[in-house]
Symmetry: C2
Subunit: 355 residues, 2 copies
Amino acid sequence: MSSILVLPGDGIGPEIVDEALRVLDAAKARFGLDIDLDHGLVGGAAYDAEGDPLPESTLEKARAADAILFGSIGGPKWDTIERDKRPERGLLRLRSSLGLFANLRPAILFPQLAGASSLKPEVVSGLDILIVRELTGGIYFGQPRGIKEENGERVGFNTYVYSESEMKRIARVAFDLAMQRGKRVCSVDKANVLEVTELWKEVVTEEAKAYPEIELSHMYVDNAAMQLVRAPKQFDVIVTGNLFGDILSDEAAMLTGSIGMLPSASLDENRKGLYEPCHGSAPDIAGQGIANPLATIMSLAMLMRYSLQRGDVADAIEAAVEKVLDQGLRTADIHTEGTRKVSTGEMGAAVAEAL
Amino acid sequence: MSSILVLPGDGIGPEIVDEALRVLDAAKARFGLDIDLDHGLVGGAAYDAEGDPLPESTLEKARAADAILFGSIGGPKWDTIERDKRPERGLLRLRSSLGLFANLRPAILFPQLAGASSLKPEVVSGLDILIVRELTGGIYFGQPRGIKEENGERVGFNTYVYSESEMKRIARVAFDLAMQRGKRVCSVDKANVLEVTELWKEVVTEEAKAYPEIELSHMYVDNAAMQLVRAPKQFDVIVTGNLFGDILSDEAAMLTGSIGMLPSASLDENRKGLYEPCHGSAPDIAGQGIANPLATIMSLAMLMRYSLQRGDVADAIEAAVEKVLDQGLRTADIHTEGTRKVSTGEMGAAVAEAL
Ligand SMILES: CC(C)[C@H](C(=O)O)[C@@H](O)C(=O)O
Ligand SMILES: CC(C)[C@H](C(=O)O)[C@@H](O)C(=O)O
């Protein structure tokens, strides 16, 4: 028996997670899966109910579960509350408390949605990049940090810091994943300016020696931001730190033009993981039943593959999504002439049905 | 009489600067400009000759000049020398020593080169963004920094730091420039995670009060990286810190598909400035006479506009470049069928001639 904690969160979170659960039911039926579901509050919803974006009860449930299915968090409602109570803080604490250091963000272009990209078809067709982002270190968590008074004015400061062991373990995740793909890893740094990334480059290079089949390259982050626009298909796996990974994974996701389709996984040492769509909580369209549930459904597929070791179930869910796209079903965000516009619920039902 | 210091640097630097000087000669003749030229060594060339990428003699000349015309620096030859002696260090010290805190990077799509972009024509046609990047602070120069031993392993660290006064002055530059353009400024931060950028957002918002006509917006850096791909024309002026500016300005430049065309200016409080092409030193094609000199020529135009207060000369140089593009002349990097491929020297001569 496996246990999954469901954290719908804010905005469109609850409605898209509901559809993923519908697909999970279909998967249980088809594959006879034995899964125990638990539910919890996180983000603004948790703040509203309990004054904390990550209540102790949620954290306990998260520790107990094998995997977490996460919706999305945040919204203007909580933008002005005390910094430590904001929805994002709940997510950051969750990642850190559970040691979810390896963030996997695929940027894949679905052939059915090729037209949605702002890039020319020949530049992006067949795009399949995996960004491996370090998620529990770097400048996101570095100390000291804050705002102080100095020479009569305020000064803001943060610390970008990585230890060798942190660098090693994320490099190994990237190399292991690359071995199952194109065997090419590009490590992104700013070693010509930042000492911390100079060490990063050195450590990644050292770690690569255990993977003789891997072709390792290095790129400065400014160049990487450029190359993703110029010729994104040159990349197989990109590995980088927390901040650069945040920026580049969003840029890469947008190359596909359909960020409503992209899942992510955040894994610990033992492949326990948190799975969430790449897109945000979209408070402007929440509750209207028009959000795209596919990124969350694809996140469920990643959950099956990585935390539950059920690659077969993952494949089946992904195939069901492809089938529904082939049938011409589209939520509003990916709708184009000649396809059928459907609601969040219709999309979820169609995938469950296809499964 | 004005004085310009010429620092050709490494790789293609010398050949592209030569063409800019040819255009300068034509400008002198046409406008009767009284300009005193000085020359100096920087980067790898300076290291080879004097063991320092920014020799004291060069720094003195730079302090004495009204403006600096800079080629490009770096190459594999110097990648493995001691960190402090690398070509980039020379440039960083030059920016810092002269207080060149305001880096202006236009990302403009030349209609004649619309096809070169990897983005769909409708997404980028007419693109005209100005990125204002803080250049002498932030994580580039923050202390403490380095690599230390801790708990038996190495730890790399850097400090991202900005004082209120540093934030204010760059915000004002952005607002002043926006007043001469579309009057819209987007300030890019990561205020949901980094305290230093939380203060940035606050200070920029405060400074904006002196500019009632400016429409100020804020965007997280990950979203900005995404929006530049999705719909770049939504931006007028973007203002941000040193590191985010490095990444976003390169990404924005690449949207045009012709980074060989884009100039930059780095200004101090008194509009003294260093002018350099956005592209690098391209050691692989150095000395072959095929590099594109137009970014350097456009940098000369910026020099005329900002440091020499000769907007008329700048306009004339820019018009000459447009004319040559209209005539169908193209260096290899921007060459397409139906246009005439020319060498670095032919391109420079054509612009000088057109002027
Ligand atoms: C919400 C925010 C704190 C978060 C991050 O920066 O990590 C988000 O942008 C992401 O990438 O998951
Ligand atoms: C060469 C390097 C140090 C420099 C920087 O990062 O500032 C370059 O990328 C730039 O943008 O001018």
